[in-house]
């Protein structure tokens, strides 16, 4: 069976690896370079802390386990010459800075704990002992030992390199323009600006551009980009040991509001720089840096960690996170076009969820038992079905 994966970001790379390792003849196509879109413009989150109980949290819990295995496999396979994935189980620390925030955080963690998340409620004093540089006005905190971080671009490239070793062929700088179908309507090949690639299965893993691609393939999907900005400081002697964020982060990821939202996420990288994220705006694919947004992020970061006031900003970047109207990824077959599958819409969680998404895709394609129930992520789920246009 021949598979064409469209999109060489981390989700496409992880799926190509899983599919080629399952013995399928796999071709990856990207209109640009590999790992240069969202996978090179994000923070590398592998989080359970920001997920409300439900299918996405189940996916994240599976991902935490799978990344530990996958990182070891990749190191074993590619050797030390491969870029370091910098997978760090540093844990997350969510802090509230208002009394009502502290109460809300407690009830949120209780729900997560019941769903299998390891989380400890902390006093402000506990929080300060974990992160001594935190601002004094912390009212409550929660520690999530499962939260981890990895270097997203290195991870995407490593997964792709592994896919190549398993036989996948990668074509970059080739734009997919359409889908050729058999008489029964099923996928036969993808058409590109250079020719066509035969495919029994076509996987749309084009991240925030998956909506555009789906339309070109004849099966429109309501994927939209949400812009997120990240600030990076120069190397600093102070280390933020955890992923530290304020409690309103959860609200921001789940919101459909177009207005600018920021909530602070502060963490050190392996190199010693400090990353500050992340804003969320619905402004299309506009990659200009907006200083007002950067200023809002900086203000919140300084409020959380006062020492950052004197930190020097080295660079800022924006990335586009793919999301669907119901804020769940779509992983599975398109009900309208046999042979077409989607794996996109992971919003800010695609890096972490990529490997487990790939497991689901491989199981769906080969008919193997999936690691968890894929039904909530189906393209024809009730919360998404009304948004799917009927294909002629």
């Amino acid at each position: 069976m021949k598979v064409v994966v469209v999109g060489a970001g981390i989700v496409g790379a992880a799926c190509a690896r899983a599919l080629s390792r399952a013995g399928l003849q796999t071709v990856v196509i990207d209109r640009g370079s590999a790992a240069c879109g969202t996978s090179a413009a994000c923070e590398g989150n592998l989080l359970v802390s920001d997920k409300t109980p439900g299918p996405e949290l189940d996916l994240a819990l599976a991902a935490v386990r799978r990344w530990t295995e996958t990182a070891a496999e990749l190191l074993d396979e590619l050797g030390p010459a491969a870029p370091d994935l910098e997978l760090l189980h540093k844990g997350g620390l969510v802090v509230s800075r208002t009394d009502s925030g502290a109460v809300a955080l407690r009830s949120f963690t209780a729900g997560q704990r019941a769903s299998g998340v390891r989380v400890d409620d902390l006093t402000p004093a506990d929080a300060h002992s974990l992160e001594p540089a935190l601002a004094p006005d912390v009212t409550g905190a929660a520690h999530y030992p499962q939260d981890a971080q990895l270097q997203p671009t290195a991870a995407a490239e490593a997964l792709l390199a592994s896919a190549r070793r398993a036989g996948a062929v990668v074509h970059t700088h080739e734009r997919v323009t359409g889908l050729l179908r058999r008489a029964d309507g099923s996928a036969r090949a993808v058409r590109t600006e250079r020719g066509h690639h035969e495919a029994d299965v076509v996987l749309n893993a084009a991240g925030p551009w998956a909506g555009e691609l789906a339309a070109a393939l004849g099966a429109p999907l309501p994927v939209l980009p949400r812009r997120g900005m990240v600030l990076v400081t120069t190397r600093m002697p102070q280390v933020v040991r955890h992923k530290v964020y304020d409690a309103d982060y959860v609200g921001a990821t789940q919101s459909g509001d177009a207005d600018l939202q920021t909530s602070t996420v502060v963490e050190s990288t392996a190199a010693g720089t400090i990353l500050i994220g992340s804003s969320r705006e619905r402004v299309g694919f506009d990659d200009r840096i907006d200083v007002d947004v950067a200023a809002a992020l900086a203000a919140k970061a300084v409020a959380l960690f006062p020492f950052l006031r004197e930190a020097q900003l080295l660079r800022a970047y924006v990335g586009f996170r793919p999301y669907l109207p119901d804020h769940l990824p779509v992983i599975g077959p398109d009900p309208r076009v046999p042979g077409l599958l989607h794996a996109t819409g992971h919003e800010g969680a695609g890096i972490g969820l990529s490997v487990v998404t790939a497991d689901l895709v491989a199981a769906l394609v080969t008919g193997a038992d999936p690691v968890l129930d894929p039904t909530p992520f189906a393209a024809d789920r009730p919360s998404l079905a009304p948004h799917l246009e009927v294909v002629a």
């Binding site: 790992a35 190549r164 970059t172 900003l313």
Partner: protein
Amino acid sequence: MEVLIIGAGPAGLSAARAARAAGARVRILDAADQTGGQFWRHLPGSRPARAERVLHHAWDDYVALRHELVEDRGVRIDLGAHVWAVEARDDGLRLQVAHGVPDGTDRPVEQLTPDRVVLATGAQERVLPVPGWTLPGVFTAGAAQALAKSERVAVGERVVVAGAGPFLLPVSTTLARSGARVVAVVEAAGNRRLAREWLRRPHELVGVGAKARELAGYVGHHLREWVPYRTGRAVVAVHGTAAVEAVTVMRVDDAWRPVPGTEERIACDAVCLGHGFVPRLELAIAAGCHLTEERYVDVDDSQRTSVARVYAAGELTGVGGADLARAEGTIAGWMAAGGSPDAPAIASARRRRRTLRGFAGRLTAAHRIGAGWSAWLEPSTIVCRCEDVTVGALRTVADTTGATGLRSLKLTSRAGLGACQARTCGRTVEDLLGHQLVIDGPGTDRRPIALPVRLGELASPRTHPREETNP
């Protein structure tokens, strides 16, 4: 109407004078604490010197221009003005300017939305890596020049000046006037290529005038002082344990590949490297200016960029030296201020620009970096000085990932991710991986945060244009 000029070097100051002549008010911003740019970089006011002109070309022109602008009530000069961001917004450009000392803390940030802008941000030196180039005692040629002209410090006692281009000669001359002994000037371009570009169609050189006199002066100095000017050669390694002790010079072929068996060791305590200049593009790129294929700001006959009401002049639009920068600045300032393109006021600047561009083209062709230079690298040679990424590490990452994207390669190798944000290594990384990389747009030159700013400064409320007049 006010014309905002960014950069107070030869191009920016000339633009200011012309914009005033055309009737506009002018505001000049420069990050340095004195005008003149790198070309007329000079001693600070606290260190007066009667014969400073001996270190400069066209010094009297500069002094007169500065005097005229400082005295003019229609001109406001803001020094210590660090433009750290330019935003191309739907309603025009917006600039963020931190006022104060370089890398200060709590500097007030002013937000500007100018009517007309002239970008005159100049160039920086391009330095090719060489084994040993991170040793203390290795400087850029521009550093040696700047330290000697504006600080009266010589970088060493026995100095080798090496690289390519006519700039090596004034550097060597200044070093000699600062008490250093220049033991060799090593120029990679060979005599045949130099002769071909410098001497062909001599009638075209008529009118180059001051520029040719300037160069002739430097050549005369080298002959008089017996400084060996070694062409067709390159410093291919720098040696030393704690600091520079010697260099290896080799003959190079037309593509700058070292010729085996030509090694020669020269003892020295400082090395000044310069392989040409690259424009300082970050503000122009952030403004949305279209770039040429050679990655200069694309301007039309009126020095207009692709962005409405934004002009560019000087090295930003093509490296050609101060005289060309002055001609371009004059045209840019005049046109930005709404002057007529056919006005007699800029006729002579147009003529000079034509002649000098031709001359600059020859110099560029003569001293262009040869494609074979990387043959002198060792796997252990550091490419990215900020992150200590070696040639070997860069190539290993590229080979392992097979990556074609610059963004991915930067993030996986860390080359270009450090404090200088690829200002030093960017073009080199692009060259070394050129066979594999697909570079779209501005490559490693895109830096939306154009200068460092403290998070506290970024977070503080920004002020609107400050109402101040010249001191």
